[in-house]
């Protein structure tokens, strides 16, 4: 059989087409790999901006205006440094933080760490349900309706969903944070004055041409307290466990580590940007109007209404609702995973109830009691929130110490231990965090009269 020349040409064309298609496929695969790695860092950093965090940020903006903004850049950096170490440990060892603590420090240490994690995270879950209650009350829904619905939603969502599907929902939650950007725009701040405040204010304040807009901050105890609170609200103990577990769960190996680090970086930056907008929003309205005191995040939303309009206020409340629901669906679940895996109980939503009873009961109990306590008519919400804050402050130094000790172990991390410069940065960050939390704790224990103004979250 002879072939016609035209067919040969067609064949050549077809082959070329196939080659192009193959190259395209390869690119698509590479994009797919990046997308497959993105998620844990983004989600972790954003969950941090939960109900308590939003209150702290609006309080900071209301009390000191733009003057607190300079801390955002070092804070975002600290967030990245601490999270990056956990992501790296997850990628290199393939084990969660609680697994590593258990394997290297034994049962008893793990048990106490896990108990502390449980108590502190439970306090946080309470704060989230309180956030749901306040946000929905702004929309005119009683907490006796909104909180039970939220509890059932969270409980069912997580127990029914597969992890891939859940992650998509969580990513959507991250998007709703943009409502704060809109709120801030509606508040009509002086954008470039705000931007100028992002530079280290104590320095900028002395540069003559800037003096008319930027005043050096007054280092009063209240000011220091709010700075410590901002840091405490942004870097929380549980996020290290969650991030590392999520990295392991996504099967990020040393090879995909670079993408994972990008993910963590994007997460830290986006979380910091959201914080910027929340603070700016409060600064442009509450601070300018002289309304320096709010007692929860709902107050901030309410106060926005006369100052920036109804829409801005509603968006602020929506953001609060979103953040509370987001954190309420992640916190109890991650807590149960961490505890069960550290102590060696069966865990996982793909197991059946009777295969992993402790896991499911713990999860259910956290949600039932978390929502139930909020519904108590005279719930001591402020005290609970303050106690949870104190607990977090107490726990964080220990967790950071564990992270630093583990990440520098050559037998675990091989070549991927911290470099010397990185160690200086990481220890510096951790020491600063430890000092600040100790300072906060000191205030919490010995000057409780300052506490209503103290940040919660």
């Amino acid at each position: 059989m002879t072939t016609w020349p035209i067919f040969e040409k067609l064949e050549a064309l077809r082959l070329r087409g196939q080659r192009v298609l193959q190259r395209f496929r390869r690119v698509r695969r590479r994009v797919a790999i990046i997308l497959a790695v993105v998620g844990p860092g983004l989600i972790t950093s954003n969950v941090n901006n939960e109900a308590g965090g939003i209150y702290t940020y609006s309080l900071a903006g209301a009390q000191f205006g733009y003057n607190v903004l300079w801390i955002l850049i070092p804070m975002g950096f600290a967030l990245f440094v601490t999270e990056e170490m956990c992501a790296r440990m997850g990628a290199v060892t393939g084990k969660g933080l609680s697994d590593l603590i258990r394997e290297e420090y034994g049962f008893r240490v793990t048990f106490f760490v896990m108990c502390a994690v449980l108590v502190v995270n439970f306090g946080n879950v309470l704060a989230e349900f309180a956030g749901v209650a306040t946000a929905m009350e702004l929309f005119g829904v009683s907490k006796y309706i909104s909180v039970p619905i939220a509890a059932i939603l969270v409980w069912g969502l997580v127990l029914q969903g597969t992890s891939r599907w859940l992650e998509k929902i969580f990513m959507a939650f991250c998007l709703v944070y943009l409502s704060y950007v809109v709120s801030a725009v509606l508040a009509k701040p002086h954008w470039w004055v705000a931007a100028l405040h992002l530079l280290p204010t104590p320095l900028v304040g002395w540069v003559p041409p800037f003096q008319q807009w930027v005043k050096p901050p007054q280092w009063t105890p209240e000011y220091m307290l709010i700075l410590a609170g901002l840091l405490g609200a942004t870097i929380a103990p549980w996020q290290h466990f969650y991030l590392q577990a999520a990295v392991v769960e996504k099967r990020v190996g040393p090879r995909q580590y670079r993408q994972a680090r990008t993910d963590v970086m994007v997460g830290s930056i986006s979380a910091t940007i959201i914080i910027f907008f929340i603070i700016v929003c409060a600064a442009a309205t509450l601070f300018t109007a002289g309304q320096h005191h709010i007692s929860n995040a709902g107050d901030a939303a309410k106060a926005l209404e006369p100052l920036a309009g109804r829409f801005a206020s509603a968006l602020f409340a929506l953001g609060l609702l979103n953040a509370s629901l987001f954190a309420a669906s992640i916190l109890p679940l991650s807590t149960c995973y961490v505890i069960c895996e550290g102590l060696g109980f069966e865990a996982g939503v793909d197991r059946k109830w009777n295969e992993a009873p402790i896991f499911y009961w713990l999860y259910t109990a956290m949600i039932v009691f978390g929502a139930g306590l909020i519904l108590m008519p005279k719930a001591p919400l402020v005290r609970v929130a303050v106690l949870s804050q104190v607990g977090q402050g107490l726990l964080l130094p220990f967790i950071l110490l564990f992270v630093l000790m583990l990440v520098n172990r050559r037998d675990l991390m091989g070549e991927q231990t911290n470099s010397r410069t990185y160690n200086v940065l990481a220890w510096g960050t951790s020491l600063a965090m430890i000092l600040l939390t100790l300072a906060l704790l000191w205030v919490g224990l010995f000057r409780p009269q300052d506490l209503p103004a103290a940040p919660v979250g």
Partner: protein, 413 residues
């Protein structure tokens, strides 16, 4: 019965009643006896630690040990890689429970005492992974042994017999020294093995794959998700990787190679025998989620004029992949596809019956470019077990089996 946590930290006295030191570690020598605690490491503060052998132990109780020799008779401690250390290698570490087919974490070890004239031997009987062990670990040294024993009587037991325990040691040299084999793992179903591997860390997974024989490794690998497959294969040395991929079904091998970097994939294909590599290469040309990407080139093709007996004889005489033997496909003299015969029909047919009379209606086939959705629809509509893929001239080039369809459908859920 004793527990490892009760012996660890125990005060040890020599034959003369003098205090020697505290037990810091228990060693098992798998090369000698798989379950006997053969040596005790005795820490003595700033002095060099000593080692007591099992025949030097006269009495063991929770917190106390008495030796039948003098302190001078004990040897100095020299670290030895071929000793399995109970505290370091077992307590708090993950092991594979081969009877329950899952990964668990060790809380404690149950030791069984065997008394022979004047000495006490401790043998590991089971590994505690439940609340009993947890309570013991938590309370040890805080309250007395008898109180702990009373508390743990009330707790539910959860333990794994030592025979069913499979240790995970990522270091291949140490594995050899400890005489660790993966026989127990190789006996598990590949799907269970894959589930277990998913729960482990990358280094441990690698260790398991490296120590399994190629066939078991290939079966287990095929059950893992695509990302893990690629991760594992990229870290294996190319020769071993090629051997494993060779054992996989061509369609699975092609899917795996498509997920690797182009360089690795080319290298592995070069390592594989020519014929297998050819089959896989042919499959790699197709888009992964097309009929061509789903099909397998391992299938049974016979002339339509053959009789039932001839076909059965032919199958017996050839090394046919049994998983592909749901259906036998018929071709005419020009190798065009003319029909499919289920093996169940073949089984029941009379020995001289022509295959052409057995074929199932209607004649269903699909082109390699068709989407996987069309494949699903055909399987659903005609209740197929396998579906032939034909080239434009109607010649069969591969077959899709129902297991491929199920795994694709599940990954879409």
């Amino acid at each position: 019965m004793l527990h490892a946590t009760e012996v660890l930290g125990a005060e040890t006295y020599d034959a003369g009643g003098n205090f020697v030191g505290r037990v810091k570690e228990l060693f098992i020598e798998p090369a000698d006896q798989p379950n006997r605690v053969s040596r005790l490491l005795l820490g003595r503060g700033q002095y060099q630690p000593l080692v007591a052998r099992h025949e030097q132990v006269a009495f063991v109780a929770p917190g106390t040990i008495r030796l039948n020799v003098n302190e001078k008779a004990l040897e100095l401690y020299q670290p030895n890689e071929s000793w399995l250390a109970v505290r370091k290698d077992l307590l708090d570490q993950q092991i594979i429970d081969t009877s329950g087919r899952k990964v668990v974490r060790v809380n404690d070890l149950d030791l069984h005492e065997q008394r022979t004239n004047g000495t006490v031997e401790m043998r590991v009987s089971q590994v505690d992974v439940g609340l009993k062990g947890a309570a013991r670990r938590l309370l040890q040294g805080i309250v007395s042994h008898s109180v702990i024993r009373r508390i743990q009587e009330k707790l539910p037991p959860r333990a794994i017999r030592w025979e069913f325990v499979n240790l995970i040691e990522p270091d291949p040299l140490r594995r050899v020294k400890l005489r660790m084999t993966q026989e127990k793992l190789a006996r598990l179903h590949p799907a269970d093995l894959a589930d277990i591997m998913e729960e482990l860390s990358p280094a441990e997974r690698q260790a398991i794959v490296a120590s399994l024989d190629e066939e078991t490794a290939a079966e287990a690998l095929a059950e893992l998700d695509a990302r893990l497959q690629a991760q594992i294969v990229e870290k294996l040395d190319p020769e071993k990787a090629a051997d494993i991929i060779e054992e996989m079904d061509p369609d699975e091998a092609a899917d795996l190679l498509a997920d690797l970097s182009p360089e690795t994939s080319r290298e592995l294909l070069q390592e594989m025998p020519r014929e297998e590599a050819q089959e896989v290469r042919a499959l790699l040309r197709f888009e992964e989620n097309s009929a061509g990407g789903m099909m397998n080139t391992d299938f049974v093709l016979v002339g339509e004029t053959a009789t039932r007996n001839e076909v059965v004889e032919w199958i017996r005489g050839h090394d046919v992949n049994l998983e592909q033997l749901d259906t036998v496909f018929l071709v005419d003299q020009d190798a065009g596809f003319t029909g499919a015969v289920g093996t169940a029909r073949l089984l029941l047919a009379a020995s001289e019956q022509k295959l052409a009379t057995l074929r199932s209606e209607p004649l269903v086939s699909i082109s390699p470019e068709s989407s996987e959705k069309e494949v699903f629809e055909l399987f659903d509509k005609y209740n197929l077990r396998s579906l032939v893929v034909v080239d434009p001239s109607g010649r069969p080039i591969g077959a899709i089996t129902v297991d491929d369809v199920v795994s694709r459908l599940r990954s879409r859920l």
